[in-house]
């Protein structure tokens, strides 16, 4: 099992945002996490990626307990994420945004940056090539030198994904990648996600666009009020009366 979430509980004062949730994510699958607004999806992402320390339970990644580790270390272990509200570096070009995430490729030391410009320049070339690879994967290489925040919304989302992939993750957590995208953009995103999986990267996905979720997910887990109410294949989950009730309410009400 690549990523194991075990009896995870996250409490903020009296509010239990995530209540005793267990999830297992297998290598190579696209695992979607769905549920009504406020059901705790993003909270789970924040715990797994190291932004919150869980109040109960634990998270294991490649067999190692990661809950409680600082976020940057979790990223270094191979778990990357994107943000629901875009968080691009606003002073940077698209290329620079991606290059920030390439720190693990860099071998030069600080003193070399002070006294050895040639070694640094050589490494910069390699980093640029690595970054361009990611931009090509996301089909945004022609915007490399544009200021990232000046791009249309849909493209900014892709810069976020390119940046996450640049950390060379084994699993990537995508928080509503299709939010705000039109139909064409969503279709293109679907192709890109399938391409990412084909490259051997596991995808853990929070998404409200049910069409997209049903098209690409191998496993779907459903959250409601911080509890997991269902898990299974797309077809099984979409027929589950408990799930229908969570989304649409009880019949006869």
């Amino acid at each position: 099992m690549l990523l194991e979430i075990e009896n995870l509980t996250m409490q903020f004062g009296g509010l239990v945002a995530v209540n005793n949730v267990s999830l297992n994510i297998q290598e190579g699958e696209i695992h979607a996490l769905i549920g009504p607004n406020g059901s705790g999806k993003t909270t789970i992402f924040n715990v797994v990626s190291g932004y919150y320390k869980p109040t109960g339970g634990m998270v294991r990644f490649k067999g190692q307990t990661i809950s409680g580790l600082p976020a940057y270390k979790i990223t270094a272990l191979g778990l990357a994420r994107t943000f629901q509200n875009l968080r691009l570096f606003r002073s940077m070009t698209v290329l620079e945004n991606v290059q920030v995430a390439l720190g693990h490729h860099a071998r030069t030391r600080f003193w070399q940056h002070v006294v050895a410009p040639l070694a640094v320049r050589q490494e910069e070339r390699q980093l640029k090539e690595k970054a361009m690879e990611k931009l090509r994967l996301l089909r945004i290489e022609q915007y490399a030198d544009e200021l990232a925040t000046s791009l249309p919304y849909g493209l900014q989302r892709r810069v976020e994904i390119a940046r996450a992939l640049a950390t060379e993750p084994t699993v990537v957590l995508l928080d509503e990648p299709a939010a705000g995208l039109n139909e064409t953009e969503t279709a293109e995103l679907r192709d890109i996600l399938l391409q990412i999986r084909a490259a051997g990267i596991t995808i853990f996905l929070v998404e409200h666009d049910m069409k997209l979720v049903m098209e690409i997910s191998d496993v779907v887990s459903v959250l409601d009020y911080g509890k997991k109410i269902a898990e299974g294949s797309c077809s099984a989950v979409s027929c589950d009366p408990v799930v229908i009730e969570a989304y649409l309410g009880k019949e006869g009400e």
Partner: protein
């Protein structure tokens, strides 16, 4: 087109360098050269502050204290142990780096103006130590008799000769700062400043870079302090008042944060300050007003205005090319 602009740039650079080399001859007296020397030192401090504050977003208001630590380290080693400038300089760099990284530790817990207040307080603590540790620092009496530096028998024993030492230090300091900020470290600093939450998710160890940026700024101030101690040959605690830190802050913000050239441009303020010496009491008011105006209307400082002007030129050129090719087709802003 491109080769022509590089040619012009090279010519301008050569002209600037020639002008800088000729400055001691152009200046009418020692006093004017002295002001140029002080300008160089302030530019060094501002380069450091620009890395910490402009690039990494870490407001470090202990710059005056670091400059004092550099100056005192050099003075004490030179006067008590006869260390020459070329040894006091690296020693002071190590000392300011160590103390700088300690002062930087609170950046792990507090940010923005809270960090400003903490560094301000720690800087004052350092100054108070310098005044009160009379056995070591001679307190308010200061330390006289610091030797001028020499290089292969050439002694920098006049303002004019010292000018070239300061000029070399500023050029080297600028080039190193540029080298640091242009590549990986600069990007990590800016990532911390732009969005530290996202930076963490990109695997950036933000605490490390915050401490590094503040430590670099401390070393820059320390080097300026060493140069000052050996130039002035006498130092006392009252030279390092908080006013100097505020001045460097003003210089950096007016020049342009996050752009090293801004620190060079800000150097003009040192000369301006000297020219307006008669209004000395009003200086703090002037700094305050300048900073408020910059923050409100020109967040990028002088360099920001220059960049905006260049962008407008570029988009006008693009528009002209557009209309030239496509007749009178509609055309928007470049971005």
């Amino acid at each position: 087109m491109k080769t022509r602009t590089t040619l012009w740039k090279t010519l301008a650079l050569v002209a600037l360098l020639a002008l800088l080399l000729a400055m001691p001859k152009i200046a009418r007296n020692d006093y004017q050269v002295r002001i140029l020397n002080m300008t160089g030192l302030y530019i060094l401090i501002s380069l450091g502050l620009n890395i910490a504050m402009g690039y990494c977003g870490q407001i470090n208001l202990a710059m005056g204290a670091f400059w004092a630590v550099g100056a005192y380290t050099a003075a004490l080693l030179n006067v008590n142990f006869k260390w020459p400038f070329w040894l006091t300089l690296p020693a002071a760099m190590v000392a300011t780096a160590v103390i700088g990284s300690v002062v930087a530790l609170p950046s792990l817990k507090v940010r923005s103006h809270y960090l400003a207040i903490v560094t301000l307080g720690l800087g004052e603590v350092i100054n108070i130590i310098l005044v009160n540790e009379e056995k070591i620092t001679r307190g308010a009496m200061g330390i006289p008799g610091i030797k001028r530096p020499s290089l292969f028998g050439f002694v920098f024993n006049s303002e004019q000769k010292y000018y070239y030492l300061v000029l070399a230090a500023v050029i080297l300091g600028y080039l190193i700062a540029r080298q640091i900020t242009r590549h990986r470290f600069g990007r990590a600093f800016r990532a911390v400043r732009d969005d530290y939450v996202a930076a963490k998710a990109m695997g950036v160890n933000i605490g490390f870079y915050q401490i590094l940026a503040i430590t670099i700024s401390a070393v820059y101030a320390g080097v300026a302090g060493v140069l000052f101690a050996h130039l002035n040959t006498y130092i006392s605690p009252d030279i390092f008042e908080f006013r100097s830190t505020l001045f460097v802050l003003t210089m950096t913000m007016v020049g342009g944060m996050g752009n090293l050239l801004g620190s060079l441009v800000g150097g003009v303020l040192v000369i301006l300050q000297e020219a307006l010496r008669t209004f000395r009491d009003w200086q703090l008011v002037f700094y305050g007003v300048a900073v408020v105006l910059v923050v409100l209307f020109f967040p990028g400082g002088v360099m920001g205005i220059a960049a905006r002007w260049r962008e407008r030129q570029a988009s006008r050129l693009a528009r002209q090319a557009d209309t030239g090719e496509a007749g009178n087709g509609p055309s928007g802003e470049a971005r």
